[in-house]
Amino acid sequence: MFETDVLLQDLREILGAVPVTLAMALAIFVFSTIIGSLFAFIEYRRVPVLRELVIAYKVAFKGVPMVIVIFLAYFGLPPALQFLLSLVGIDFNAHLTPNWVILVIAITGCIAAFQSEIIKGALNSFDTGQADAAHSLGYTSSQLFRRVMFPQVVVAAIPDLTTSMMVIMKALSLGFAIEVVEIFAQSQLTAALNFYYLEAFVIAVVIYMVIAYIVTQIADRTERALRIRS
């Protein structure tokens, strides 16, 4: 019923997909956090027009299932890119865009909407009294941000940002739909060759759990180290 003999071989094969999965997750995490921060600032500072666009973006990307966004990107992005480049006179075959790039873009687009909510919440949790104090002492807005606000906002956002990292890891398994081979897809492929599906997926579960454990530990420690200071 459960074949223990294949576990080691399965583990070796599926582990092979871990580096690429982590690399994609990290890239998505960094990009979506940057874009999310930008969105959060637009909302926090109440920038006219841009603010409405950000709100519309968030409604769209939080509401539409990620797998649909991935398919839309898969079918829509290359022709759109090719068209845009042809407008500026560049002849480029965008259909050669690797699928993993499309996957990274699609998930980044979705997660950015969530990151922006997290960062907006952290910004709102900053008490404006400290901003008053800084201004009263002659701090410019950028000095206030650098010296006082940023260090506090980061600490406030760490737990939720970590959760996003795990959401990204799991969202990457949707890459299977457009033939990107990460942890889940690799288990699928491994199982398809030896027909030991249960074993392969158990291995995948264990790997996901180990990654989740490590990420949470890193985040907890970083947060604790920083929180003592605030």
Binding site: A133, A134, H135, S136, L137, Y139, R147, V148, V155, S230
Partner: protein
Amino acid sequence: MLELKDIKLSYGSAQILNGVNLSVKRGDVVSIIGPSGTGKTTLLKCINYLARPASGTIAFDQIRMDYQRADKAAVQAIRLRTAMVFQQFNVFKNMTVIQNVMDPLVVVQRKSREEAHAIALQELERVGLSDKREHYPSQLSGGQLQRTGIARALAVRPDVILFDEPTSSLDPELVGEVLKVIKDVTSSGITSLLVTHEMQFAKNISNRIVFMDRGVVAADGSPTEIFDTPSSPRLAQFLSSELAFQ
């Protein structure tokens, strides 16, 4: 040295300041008293432009500004010569006590770390917090937080120090230690404006009392004039209710 003229400010339809005039001489210790919601704090915050009046003018020595045409340079010049102590302390939560005091000196005044450190130590000594200098705000009592706020304000060597209800959010048993420090500061000759509900304290330390009521200055005089011979029924009523409460 400081003159505010015809300051008007409203939040939405609520008129907070309704043409306030106030002039302060160098070395004055002015206490601003009055019922809640009459704009005492708001008036104080107009001086360093944390509150933005719709109209009126300010003259701070050579610096002159019309609030209808507020300009950044004048605001910054005034901020560099004043310091404020807040009701909610507003110390920087990501910094230790001594970092709180040093930071404005390093970031705004561009002093060297060594010089800033020396000044900070001196001011912390003055407010009795030398032994807590490496503590973070989360580890301090309200009284200690407020004394940190006072040390931070003193360290920038302001010409005028603005106290905005510095003891109003303290536990009763912590009020004393903060009032003691404020008394020490005001008696050192620095020009001070103090918004407070501590009537006895105001009477003791001030050379002038300003009574604000419904968005205007309703009475202005020496402590004796204000407390012993109140000029209006409103003032007399306010004083008796405040003093009865204490």
